[in-house]
């Protein structure tokens, strides 16, 4: 156990109740230490507990067993200090707010002044390529566009800890790769901690310092793979043999499940 770790996940288990009152064992004894400024990915098959783990870290869910420490305090305290920025698996936009105002939402909450709000909104919408849609309502957007609004909203916070749950799953490969790079650029400038849920192995390799592979039923940590590719990473790195070998290493640890 590393005392200096920014996020300590200690033997976390999670049981849900099904509608007959039986336990569904979603996570089993997961322990991970995450360093400050680290970019870590959670990888695993559908239903293995990635979202569950993320929600526990974000204090949206209490673990049934075990404990999570974030910045030396409870997740709740961290949450109360507004240190989290979360991209949810479904975009969770507010129907009554336009794109612009959905992104503005957390900024209002953080008492950021209006001009700063506007400039951040501009910047993030630019980043995700939605500048022309800023006055649209969510129901007027395509699925991928909605997801991008959710990304812009989380990035606009410039959070200490960025939790992203399959943020790019609804995006085409090009937008995805572009946003991968943008994300890395932002991250390297600000040195925030990122926990990134994905089911795309090469994405996880491209982005992360470490990749945590979860196996399902119940969700267990089956491997942690260090990604020792140099940074800054650019598009070209995807073509290198090191990259491929890491991808297949992970794929194997995955398949071994």
């Amino acid at each position: 156990m590393n005392a200096a770790a920014e996020i300590q996940i200690e033997s976390v288990s999670m049981f849900y109740k099904d509608n007959k009152g039986n336990d569904i064992h979603a996570l089993n004894n997961v322990s991970i230490d995450i360093q400050k400024g680290e970019f870590i990915s959670l990888l695993g098959p559908s239903g293995c507990g990635k979202t569950t783990l993320l929600r526990i870290i974000a204090d949206l869910l209490e673990p049934s067993m075990g404990k999570v420490t974030v910045c030396g305090q409870t997740p709740k305290e961290t949450r109360m200090q507004q240190k989290y920025g979360i991209v949810f698996q479904n975009p969770v936009l507010y129907d009554w707010r336009t794109v612009k105002n959905n992104v503005r939402l957390p900024l209002e909450m953080m008492k950021i002044n209006k001009t700063e709000q506007n400039s951040r909104i501009e910047k993030q919408l630019e980043l995700v390529g939605l500048t022309n849609f800023k006055n649209h309502y969510p129901h007027q957007l395509s699925g991928g566009m909605q997801q991008r609004v959710g990304i812009a909203r989380a990035l606009a916070i410039q959070p200490e800890i960025l939790l992203m749950d399959e943020p790019f799953s609804a995006l085409d490969e090009f937008t995805r790769e572009k946003l991968n790079e943008d994300l890395l650029r932002i991250w390297s400038k600000t040195n925030k901690t990122v926990i990134f849920v994905t089911h795309n192995i090469s994405e996880s390799v491209f982005l992360s310092d470490r990749v945590c592979v979860l196996s399902p039923h119940p969700g267990r940590l089956s491997a942690i793979v260090d990604i020792d590719l140099p940074r800054p990473r650019t598009r070209e790195i995807r073509e290198t043999p090191e990259f491929f070998s890491l991808v297949s290493k992970i794929r194997n640890s995955f398949e071994g499940v």
Binding site: N19, L60, M80, H139
Partner: protein
């Protein structure tokens, strides 16, 4: 209802009781209001009267309540049917809704003779009048539920070329159940009101009769005890709807309230 909620409810009623008691006390002793007994009688006295006359009041209440149930059943059914018709066709809604509002503006005093002439039977007229008073909130709520159905959920049905009956049975109705139940929660106590009003249209018994006679006969204590009884019936009817809601909406198991706030 679990024990906790019962307790909460008890605290509520105790609180209201105490407040009321205080109000009555100050009316008598601070404001020296000579109308105190009819403005705000001591609730303990009302309850004492209620207890003393429990036999007659509960009998009268039962008569009214059973009529309310009939009126409610009919009114709610009409409300649901109207809402469905209005949701099937926008034109129907545009035609009907304004006239439903108009219909609600006709007081029973003007309506009763017309209804009687229609059905030529006093008991039937009474049930219709009770239904007439009850149906509107059900229709309005149900309609707003039917109109709130997510568009993608509708499209799924549409893609199966589903016929109207299955669209309604499998999508529209289940979806709008929570809305319907809101309407029923409003309508259930209202049906007690309606039934009381119908009592007053020349019935021989019922809590409405007690209310009217005691009001005009100067028996203030019975009047207030009857008011309490009708309120109590309202609460009972409300709880019946709540229980029905639990039974009919099992999938809505508070997964929204789980994530509390700080």
């Amino acid at each position: 209802m679990n024990k906790n909620k019962t307790l909460v409810l008890l605290v509520w009623f105790a609180g209201i009781f105490a407040l009321w008691e205080l109000g009555a006390f100050s009316l008598v002793n601070i404001f020296h209001d000579k109308m105190a007994a009819s403005k705000l009688p001591y609730p303990h006295e009302v309850i004492a009267t209620l207890a003393k006359n429990w036999q007659t009041l509960s009998e009268a209440g039962a008569v009214t309540f059973s009529k309310a149930a009939t009126g409610f059943a009919l009114g709610a059914s009409i409300g649901i049917i109207l809402a469905i018709l209005m949701s099937i066709s926008k034109i129907a809604e545009q035609i009907a809704f304004p006239y439903l509002i108009v219909s609600q503006m006709i007081p029973v005093l003007g309506l009763a003779p017309i209804i009687f002439n229609l059905v030529r039977n006093m008991d039937a007229s009474r049930i219709i009048i009770a239904a007439y008073i009850t149906f509107f909130p059900v229709a309005a709520n149900m309609l707003s539920g039917l109109k709130s159905v997510d568009i993608d959920k509708r499209e799924l049905m549409y893609s199966y070329a589903a016929k109207k009956p299955s669209i309604y049975m499998k999508l529209m109705l289940p979806f709008s159940l929570p809305y319907l139940f809101s309407g029923l929660k409003i309508a259930a106590p209202l049906s007690v009101t309606a039934s009381i009003l119908v009592d007053m249209l020349g019935s021989k018994n019922g809590i409405g009769v007690k209310l009217l006679y005691s009001l005009y006969g100067g028996t203030k204590d019975i009047f207030w005890a009857s008011v309490f009884t009708s309120a109590l019936m309202g609460i009972i009817s409300y709880f019946i709807v709540i229980i029905a809601e639990r039974i009919f909406i099992p999938w809505k198991k508070e997964f929204n309230t789980k994530a509390g706030e700080d």
